[in-house]
């Protein structure tokens, strides 16, 4: 079983839900990412999503776009992200790391080369947001062959007939995007999400994480009641962007601890 599978199994045994936290690698600085990953874990994250910077992040809102631009200004590319993961693994061998990004940097490196390097670095899952299952033949199989879980998205617009197809290609967990729109969008209707998840679970045995629109303990708790995992991205990146110099890790630690309390409150 992969580190992602083990994490979900262990949490289930404790009757807990997973907290998945996202940061963009190289934001705000190249040397700050690995320490920040440790902060996320210390504050209560179960899985880390590490954003691979891309020049044209079409599916992201302004907050993560700006993080990507800062990281690119720091000259952080896919190879650096793999190096950061390897560095993180030197002192953490249990927390799963999922790379999240766009097809082109991976395609440019070559899917096979990337999968080998990612596995060697200690990457557990990869989500390329612009590779749907239809285009993933020869991608998710390569990832799976190297022991990397291909993570896929489901959205409110995904018809029931497609859910099965997405689930068949996926590994690790399914990421349900709770809102139409880009990352960092506004409000969340948990009742509507709950209805959708019921349908998703009929076709998919993988754990389901829900993201988009989670910003505090209350929204984290509401989502943890219906999903297997709560995914938080823009809210954390926003904290990194707005923190005064030197305050970044404290701010993030505080926020993630709050989200953790929210997630755990759902299991009480």
């Amino acid at each position: 079983m992969s580190r992602i599978g083990e994490t979900f199994t262990a949490l289930k045994a404790q009757n807990k839900k997973a907290l998945i936290t996202f940061i963009t690698a190289g934001d705000p600085g190249k040397g700050l990412t690995v320490p920040m990953m440790h902060v996320l874990v210390e504050a209560g994250a179960d899985i880390i999503e590490l954003g691979v910077p891309f020049s044209d992040p079409m599916a992201d809102g302004p907050v993560i776009q700006r993080a990507s631009e800062r990281a690119l200004a720091n000259k952080v590319g896919l190879k650096d992200v793999l190096a950061m993961t390897a560095e993180f693994r030197k002192s953490n061998t249990t927390t799963p790391v999922v790379l999240m990004g766009y097809a082109n940097p991976v395609e440019h490196m070559g899917y096979e080369t990337f999968a080998k390097a990612a596995k060697a670095a200690g990457v557990d899952g990869v989500l390329t947001v612009d590779i749907p299952p239809e285009e993933s033949a020869g991608v998710s199989d390569v990832f799976k062959a190297h022991g990397i879980d291909p993570v896929f998205l489901l959205s409110p617009t995904t018809p029931e007939a497609r859910v099965e197809q997405v689930a068949a290609a996926a590994g690790g967990f399914i990421y349900y995007v709770s809102l139409k729109g880009v990352t960092g969008s506004a409000n969340l209707d948990t009742e509507e999400v709950a209805r959708k998840l019921e349908m998703v679970r009929r076709h998919c045995s993988l754990p389901v994480g829900v993201g988009f629109g989670i910003r505090d303990a209350a929204t984290a708790e509401a989502v943890a009641r219906i999903a297997d995992a709560v995914v938080v991205g823009s809210r954390i990146v926003n904290e990194i962007e707005t923190a005064p110099e030197g305050e970044c890790s404290n701010r993030v630690r505080h926020l993630v601890a709050e989200l953790r309390r929210g997630v755990d409150a759902a299991s009480k």
Partner: protein
């Protein structure tokens, strides 16, 4: 497999094209694919499209023998397909009418578009006014500054123009932003994509709507010259005017098809917008094609005096035609395009778009290498009124 049978059912032209978008857009693209499949087989839809092209756009556009230009260039006879004479001044309207009719068929009341030079934005705003739809146009902040007449035109036509300040502030960033709008408003909104690129079915449907250009030429050239041309030359940014004139000519194997990319300050300088001439395959904006990218797979900034060609990718069918050897692709730099712009003004009394001037500039190079009995057909994709500020600036003149 014949070159004209592509794309396959998932939008692939060999290894190029496809659907590379986030899950949220998959259902909308499938809806569009299904609806377009019905529309292209619906005689009523096709008849309305044809009616609009004739009575609203003014088609067929003429083919014109540029005799003085041919004489000056000292070789082959140059003929111009006058897309610049269309309503709104470019080939873009052929596509926006087709897509607006599709939007109406699908019950969408709001349309969005991205634009570089502003020609597609104007053509989208025009059809939105014509069919009574709300229209939002995304335009790179840099392009808003260098194409101000078109920005004002769009506003006159009732569209909202949103300047995009992310990334390089040009066409690619406008496209990112339009995609983001579409993801967010996918149920109410139809995305009128301006070139034969993007995720399937866009490259196919834009091509189909633009193929009227080539189909007319196939009838007009024999009427004028007794035969088909030896070469067809068109500028390539995203590549919609080029694919529109190339595609019907693909089965005519004796006709050379030549796409002209923007060479900017020259290919060697790295400051250009010529992915087919100097790029490598990759994935951007929902499809696989030749791209301008760095060693990390990041998209690099493009440079061209012409906003409409200032794009790091190219429609997937062009990548396929290049690899298949059916079309050739060359680059023309800013200075050469500018010289051709002035040539056409002075010799023929036609002010061409800077985009189209790239095609004319290649004809200038090609003509002297061919005999006087040879025929070059240049797609004059748009008129240059929108570019006079840019041309004046390059010449150091303040208007």
């Amino acid at each position: 497999m014949k070159l004209t049978d592509l794309p396959d059912s998932r939008g692939h032209f060999g290894p190029y094209g496809g659907i590379f978008v986030a899950e949220t857009l998959m259902a909308a693209l499938e809806e569009l694919r299904v609806e377009y499949e019905k529309a292209r087989n619906d005689p009523a839809f096709l008849a309305e499209f044809e009616y609009e092209l004739k009575h609203y756009v003014g088609r067929p556009s003429p083919v014109y023998h540029a005799k003085r230009l041919s004489e000056a260039y000292g070789g082959a006879q140059i003929y111009l397909k006058r897309e610049d004479l269309n309503h709104t001044g470019a080939h873009k309207i052929n596509n926006t009418i087709g897509q607006a009719l599709l939007a109406r068929r699908m019950g969408k009341k709001r349309v969005i578009a991205e634009t570089g030079a502003g020609q597609h934005g104007v053509a989208s705003a025009t059809v939105a006014a014509r069919y009574g739809m709300e229209c939002v146009v995304y335009m790179g902040a840099e392009d808003v500054a260098r194409q101000s007449p078109n920005v004002f035109r769009m506003k006159l036509l009732g569209a909202t123009v949103v300047p995009v300040s992310s990334g390089s502030k040009t066409l690619k960033d406008a496209l990112n932003e339009a995609m983001r709008d579409w993801v967010t408003n996918v149920e109410s909104t139809f995305y009128i994509l301006g070139t034969a690129a993007g995720p399937h079915p866009y490259p196919m449907l834009v091509r189909d709507f633009q193929c009227v250009i080539g189909r007319e030429c196939i009838v007009q050239m024999p009427e004028l010259t007794g035969r088909q041309p030896d070469c067809v030359v068109a500028c390539v940014g995203g590549g919609s005017n080029a694919i529109g004139i190339f595609h019907p000519y693909i089965p005519y194997e004796d006709v050379r098809l030549i796409g002209v990319e923007a060479g900017g300050s020259g290919i060697a300088s790295g400051k250009h917008a010529a992915p087919l001439s100097a790029g490598t395959p990759g994935v951007l904006h929902g499809f696989r094609s030749y791209l301008m990218q760095d060693d990390n797979g990041q998209i690099i900034e493009t440079h061209s005096v012409s906003a409409g060609l200032d794009y790091p990718g190219v429609g997937p069918e062009h990548s396929w035609l290049k690899d298949a050897g059916r079309a050739e692709y060359v680059a023309i730099d800013d200075d050469e395009a500018m010289a051709a712009f002035h040539d056409l003004c002075r010799y023929e009394g036609i002010i061409p778009a800077l985009e189209s001037s790239h095609a004319v500039a290649h004809a200038k190079k090609l003509a002297p290498t061919l005999g006087k009995d040879k025929i070059i057909l240049v797609n004059l994709s748009g008129r240059g009124d929108k570019d006079i500020n840019t041309v004046a600036k390059v010449a150091g003149i303040t208007l």
